[in-house]
Amino acid sequence: MANVATTVPGPLARARHWGAGFRSRDTWAAFAFLSPWLFGFVVFTAGPMIASLVLSFTDYSIIQTTHGVGFANYTTLYHDPQVRTALRNTFVFTLLAVPAHVIIALALASVLARVGRAAGFFRTVFYLPVMTPGVAIGILYLLIFNGSYGVLNTGLGYIGITGPFWTTDPNWVKPGLVLMISVWSVGASVVIFLAALVGVPRHLYEAASMDGAPAWRRFKDVTLPMISPAIFFVVIINTISGLQTFDQVYTAFFNQSTPYGTNASLMYAIYIFQEAFTFFKFGYASALAWLLFGIIGVITAIQIVVSRRFVYYEGNSRG
């Protein structure tokens, strides 16, 4: 890249330069490309988001007349013990789930990368659980994770381990959910990692092995850095979705025929859903949602800052 001036211009010059950006043809073209999203964002996204923010300051319940209640929802939220329970459950779940998911997906993708042509079949196999609809997963969960008779504990019994009561013991509910949700759904991440692994330049590996580096060194010093962008992407996406876990847990624990959701399985997103659609407290639910929004925002920002240290992005600056 061309050399640029080594002295940093003053603030006024920076502002002028920034403002000049609006003049350039590039900017106009950029916004042309962005326009579909911009339009949709305002109408279908920002609009409802702002509406829900406004609603969080009311007692909107759809059916009754709405009154503004100021910060009452947020104060209630602060004192609500279930909020703490739900947050704790969600955090613990995400903390367990994301590393498990990433490690397993990476391991599987690494193995798949060595298989060559047959990989197509295996990719489909690993993606199958992702495609299996919630109904089946819900029923399956109760059958497989049954403490006395489930396949999982029977299998563990063969290797001498007495499995816990996954579905009823509060200490094991979350690990069970982690297994069911984040491990079974690695398929999508395997696909992404595979694409990344395949793109690592071969000459780097050749150079490393010529230097006598053993396999694990090659992995640590060549593979990981080169696919760190993909790892980062998967981590962010799964953190955001982990903190919003809803479907599978709801099917397994909270729907009509299996109302055994306990303190151990109450996820934050489920709590929001209940407050909104079972108890008709949309105002409160909106406040809860915006709290989660703030939390996710902070966590994502932290992850991004951390990533600058660990994520290697190739060559030319994007500046």
């Binding site: 106009w28 009754q64 006395s148 008779y149 055994y260 108890f279």
Partner: protein, 445 residues
């Protein structure tokens, strides 16, 4: 090259278009006109023969123009309809939900409808009508009446020499002894349950057995932490703990083949448990050779009690075609319609060699007529059971309508679940539930 003013204007134009669209959507008034005379029903899609034969009669009664999208009642769909101002004329939903919607003003009181159509409210079971009455106004017409009796597997009793008299909740100590006698635990796994108290689902029944209504008749005062309720919960916990503890108990129960021919009664996997009456029909169909007895559930004083639930018809506020809705409700639940449906079902069942155990309608006049005119004997076990089911109906109670029925149910359901999971003692759990429930009711009324 366009000046920055121009480019800025153009880019903000795009955004402004978006904002305008968004704003405009709230500005325009609209009215959706439904074809005059159509009756729009939500929550009552195509169902079994009992539903369809009655629906045919009712459709004829309202003049033929009925719109019944499929599916059962769904809170989200209904709320979306209310939000958009496009309410259906009639909804069909769980009776226990009526109170909350009524308290929030989402349903119309049916006083004028009852008067103009001359609906005889006395034909309906009192407990069911109580369930849909809020602040002394009726908001729903009850349909169906699910009652609970104790279903006993005679073979298990015989095999363990357990006297049937012990299976009486009026005598807790003996019931506990019976459960211990009949339970079988092998290799740390439960292989037969003695007596399943069906918790948390039947907590109201147990509380009532110990003498307390968990919700006052006016639906405004919760009594969840009444000492008697706590005792009832503690007792059922002792039952479960004596039979392997909740983990083992539940994981065994989850393996039951409830609807098949290898069901838990046929395989003698349970001694006795309280169950809804429709299960007799299932059993008669899947495993008619079982030896069963039906017993009434009793309170500590030895009196028979029963917990009932069911569905109801209600009219949302803002409905257009209330007259047709009213006619529909009346016709669907009238004695003659029920009788026609029962006759139809009996004939169908006979033709396909399937058993028929009657219908529990919520209309006492209809129940009697159906039993007299359509019931034919299956075998002595099921005949006795059907008779018992009919008997027990008049001793029923339901949960009264309350302005926060969902929160109320969640409060006690969660409390019992916490106790089952060993996270709290019965007293702690019910104290917490009481607080939550009463707060919710107070906030909602």
């Amino acid at each position: 090259m366009p000046g920055w003013r121009t480019s800025f204007a153009i880019t903000s134009l795009i955004a402004a278009l978006g904002v305008l669209t968004f704003a405009a959507t709230f500005a325009s008034a609209h009215s959706t006109s439904t074809k005059a005379g159509t009756l729009n029903i939500m929550g009552f899609g195509k169902g079994d023969d009992v539903a369809e034969s009655r629906a045919a009669i009712a459709t004829a009664a309202v003049g033929g123009n009925v719109n019944r999208p499929s599916g059962s009642f769904n809170d989200q769909t209904f709320l979306a309809a209310v939000a958009s101002g496009n309410v259906p004329d009639l909804v069909y939903l769980d009776r226990q939900k009526v109170g909350t919607y009524a308290a929030k003003g989402a349903f119309l009181p049916l006083t004028s409808c009852i008067k103009s159509q001359k609906i005889n409210m006395k034909q309906y079971r009192q407990a069911a009508v109580n369930e849909v009455t809020y602040k002394n106004q009726v908001y729903g017409i009850p349909e169906f009446y699910d009652v609970r009796t104790i279903l006993i597997d005679n073979d298990v009793l015989d095999a363990t020499h357990t006297p049937i008299g012990w299976l009486n909740p009026a005598k807790p100590a003996q019931l506990l002894a019976a459960a211990k006698k009949m339970v079988k635990i092998e290799n740390g796994k439960v292989t037969r349950i003695g007596f399943d108290p069906k918790m948390p689902e039947f907590f109201p029944l147990w509380a009532k057995a110990y003498g307390v209504d968990i919700l006052s008749k006016d639906g405004l005062h919760a009594h969840l932490n009444d000492p008697r309720a706590v005792k009832a919960l503690a007792y059922t916990m002792s039952l479960i703990n004596a039979q392997g503890g909740w983990d083992r108990f539940k994981s065994f129960r989850d393996t039951w083949d409830f609807f098949g021919s290898a069901n838990q009664v046929a395989k003698d996997q349970v001694g006795a448990w309280p169950m809804e009456q429709w299960y007799y029909n299932v059993l008669a169909g899947s495993s008619p050779k079982v030896h069963i007895t039906a017993l009434q559930f009793r309170n500590l004083k030895g009196q028979p009690i029963n917990y009932e639930t069911g569905s109801a018809w209600a009219i949302p506020k803002g409905a257009h075609n209330t007259a047709a809705a009213c006619t529909w409700m009346k016709t669907m639940t009238s004695t003659s319609t029920w009788l026609a449906a029962a006759k139809n079902r009996a004939a169908l069942r006979k033709a396909s060699n399937q058993p028929y155990t009657g219908i529990s309608t919520g209309n006492s006049v209809a129940d009697q007529a159906i039993y007299k005119q359509t019931y034919t004997s299956i075998n002595k076990y099921f005949d006795e059971a059907v008779k018992k089911v009919l008997d027990v109906q008049r001793f029923s109670f339901g949960i009264p309508a309350s302005p926060a029925s969902a929160e109320f149910k969640a409060a006690w359901n969660d409390a019992v679940t916490r106790v089952l999971a060993g996270q709290q003692t019965p007293k702690q759990a019910l104290d917490q539930a009481q607080k939550e429930a009463q707060n919710a009711i107070n906030a909602a009324k």
